[in-house]
């Protein structure tokens, strides 16, 4: 049971502290440091093994993954509009969050697969990078239509030059160039400490998650239901695609996790600027307050079972 994985316990402690209105705070400088560290470490690990593959051979898979992001956002939108009765901008913004990905969730999944000794394709990190962007564009289009008025250039720069992608890509490139041996000198820092850093990061995530509760109460049941069902649905899609692409059970599970996770860094920033009339607390309440905790506690193990099951079918 992951519930016993210590890093998850840190998340729960953080959430409990937040609900108890504790004065515990992770300074923002430390939060920034931890996320930069996690992004780099994930990138490095991915890059090292990426060397084995030819990007050309991966191209079809990569395209498929990008489409997955588009599809996820595009399916979330009508649901939010109809069932959720959300304003156009809000529905589009939330859809963008769920089509994009959460690095924190991915990191927890990596830790979980590690402790479960489950193998997976190393290029998954590449997919993580690829999934960050498309849903955000879809979201903006859904909110605005394809008007000239949108400053696409700025939006693209906003995301591509954003912390998340720069650190992930940077890590990938460094790991790819340096290779496994090249990195031995920084192994202790970036790999041995990974779970400890992740634990502290999750402590803060717990605090941030608890801070969403009041918003959740305000926006009511639908967000909660959506925040649980949407990732489940997305995970199924992800599993299906992973299987279709011939990924290993581990890789399939990770793709499911990516599909199921909702962004709380890249998407919020991009949406706030490109779709300002969308209420940011709606999307954050759902992705941070419901989906993130659901994924890291119950979701991830479940998605791994799904992935294993689907592989047994054939």
């Amino acid at each position: 049971m992951t519930a016993l994985d210590p890093v998850i316990l840190f998340f729960l402690v953080g959430a409990a502290a937040g609900l108890a209105r504790s004065d515990l705070r992770i300074p923002s400088a430390i939060y920034d440091f931890l996320s930069i560290y996690l992004l780099l470490a994930i990138g490095l690990k991915g890059g090292v093994e990426l060397a084995q593959y030819s990007l050309v051979a991966l191209l079809p898979k990569m395209v498929a993954v990008v489409l997955l992001g588009v599809v996820l956002a595009a399916t979330a939108y009508p649901i939010l509009r109809r069932a959720g009765r959300f304003k156009r901008a809000d529905a589009a913004s939330i859809a963008a969050h769920y089509g994009s990905v959460s690095v924190g969730t991915y990191a927890v999944a990596l830790a979980y697969l590690g402790s479960q000794k489950v193998e997976f394709e190393s290029y998954m990190t590449l997919f993580l990078v690829l999934l960050e962007m498309p849903a955000i564009i879809v979201g903006v289009v859904l909110a605005r239509g394809v008007t000239a008025q949108t400053q696409w250039g700025r939006l693209l720069h906003e995301v591509f030059a954003g912390k998340a992608i720069v650190c992930l890509l940077g890590g990938l490139v460094i790991g790819w160039i340096a290779g496994g041996d090249g990195l031995t000198s920084i192994n202790e820092f970036f790999f041995d400490l990974f779970r400890g850093m992740l634990a502290l990061f999750l402590l803060e995530m717990g605090l941030l998650c608890a801070a969403q509760m009041s918003a959740l109460r305000r926006y009511g049941l639908f967000l909660i239901v959506f925040g649980v069902l949407m990732p489940l649905f997305a995970a199924v899609l992800g599993c299906g695609l992973g299987h279709l692409l011939g990924l290993s059970p581990g890789g399939t599970a990770l793709l499911a996790v990516l599909a199921a996770s909702a962004s709380y860094i890249a998407a919020p920033a991009a949406m706030r600027i490109s779709v300002p009339e969308a209420n940011p607390s709606l999307s954050l309440a759902a992705s941070l307050g419901v989906t993130f905790p659901f994924n890291v506690t119950l979701g991830i193990p479940l998605y791994l079972e799904m992935a294993k099951w689907i592989h047994r079918q054939t």
């Binding site: 705070r25 992770i26 300074p27 923002s28 939060y31 920034d32 803060e204 941030l208 801070a211 919020p268 920033a269 706030r272 600027i273 300002p276 009339e277 940011p280 607390s281 954050l284």
Partner: protein
């Protein structure tokens, strides 16, 4: 000390729009600005989380009366509806008025 009166425009808003806000101010021709991080509460609720999405910035611009009005009107029209933002204007005395006059070649 011979003093000259100028306006101090103070803007408190979401940290996430810092880059864009600065661009706007420079287009309007301010000769400079000062930014500090802040947290707070207003009609859009509490904004005090460590990370960007919940954080505020406090922007100060010293300029001539006319430019102060332009800035206030422009920001009001551009941001008030969708962003957590307040703006207030104060009378200040400065020593080197030339430092706080609209940059040349900028649209009013």
């Amino acid at each position: 000390m011979q003093q000259h009166s100028r306006k101090l425009v103070t803007i408190i808003t979401e940290a996430v729009i810092e880059k864009e806000l600065i661009a706007t101010l420079e287009k309007l021709g301010v000769s400079g600005y000062t930014i500090a991080d802040a947290r707070g509460k207003g009609h859009r609720g509490v904004r005090n989380t460590g990370w960007e999405h919940g954080a505020n910035i406090r922007v100060e611009v010293v300029c001539e009366d006319s430019l102060a009005r332009t800035v206030a009107d422009c920001l009001k029209e551009r941001y008030y509806e969708n962003y957590a933002m307040i703006l207030f204007v104060t009378d200040v005395d400065v020593l080197r008025p030339e430092k706080f006059t609209r940059e040349r070649g900028t649209t009013p």
